[in-house]
Amino acid sequence: MKELDQELREALGRREAPSGFEERVLARIQREQTRAARPVPVPWWRGFRFPALALAAALLLLAVGGISVQRYRQSQETARGQKAREQVLLALRITGQKLVFARNKVLDHTLSESREEGR
């Protein structure tokens, strides 16, 4: 019985803590406290609490993008159309001028022939 007591006293006897033990424990406590105070980052897609709102936002973005693309294409088409219009008018103007030139040439010859016949 006495040996058992002695063994127990030795096993449960106070022992000195190893060096730096206190500092390590305090540091660990500090870290634990800091981690607990830091907010957990939430992924951006988890910001929408309501799936319908997210869907509406996506559709709105698509609509705005689609309208922009359509407007750009329309403006391009208008520019092409105006250029084509100018080219047609220019081409027809030149055609008309040259047909008048041809007729003038024929008439000039006809007049000069009739002048020579009249002599």
Binding site: G81, L89, I94, V100, N104, K105, L107, H109, G118
Partner: protein, 190 residues
């Protein structure tokens, strides 16, 4: 020397639908002061038609004219000096028109001032399905090709539109002065 004018009457010919190749004439473009190069196929003409005004009289005429055509091609070069183009430049195009489905309706060769003009038409089923004009002036060379149904009345109407003077038969000279013929007549009567 006398000028020679040959005016041929066109006759009905089967249409073979031969397309005339219009060169770009880059060597002439380099020498020219002013170059006009218009190449419009059916799609472009249709697009242009949508943008032609329905109110402006000139544009209304233009819209009507292009409604039946499939292609409109113009090559025009204006030079500072005469002698900048050669006969071979003209022949490279004119030789393509020496085929059965193209008929010359006007051919003018003027040795006096060196100005020549050719007008060809392509007929199909009694209708003009193409027009080609070659105008060789001292300082300007122009090729015009219209592919498609061309109404001569509509072409005639071009005079008086787009700034083109209407042809006045009493003033046949370009300057607009009375013709020598009418003056000579007056002198004879005196």
């Amino acid at each position: 020397m006398k000028r020679t004018v040959v005016v041929l009457f066109f006759c009905l010919l089967p249409a073979f639908g031969q397309q005339i190749k219009m060169p770009d004439f880059e060597h002439l473009a380099k020498k020219a002061d002013e170059v006009v190069n218009v190449t419009m196929d059916a799609n472009l003409l249709q697009l242009a038609g949508r943008f032609l005004s329905g109110k402006d009289p000139d544009e209304v005429k233009a819209k009507k004219l292009i409604s039946g055509i499939r292609g409109l091609y113009v090559r025009s070069f204006e030079f500072k000096n005469s002698g900048e183009y050669s006969k071979s430049d003209i022949e490279s195009v004119r030789s393509q028109l020496k085929v059965p489905d193209w008929s010359p309706i006007v051919t003018v060769r003027s040795e006096k001032d060196g100005e020549n003009v050719d007008v060809f038409v392509r007929l199909a089923n009694g209708q003009i399905q193409g027009l080609f004009v070659i105008a060789a002036e001292a300082k300007q060379l122009t090729f015009v090709n219209i592919d498609g149904a061309v109404d001569p009345d509509q072409l005639k109407d071009l005079g008086g539109s787009f700034g083109i003077p209407k042809l006045n038969l009493q003033h046949s000279k370009k300057s607009g002065t009375p013709s020598k013929d009418s003056k000579a007549k007056e002198e004879d009567e005196e």
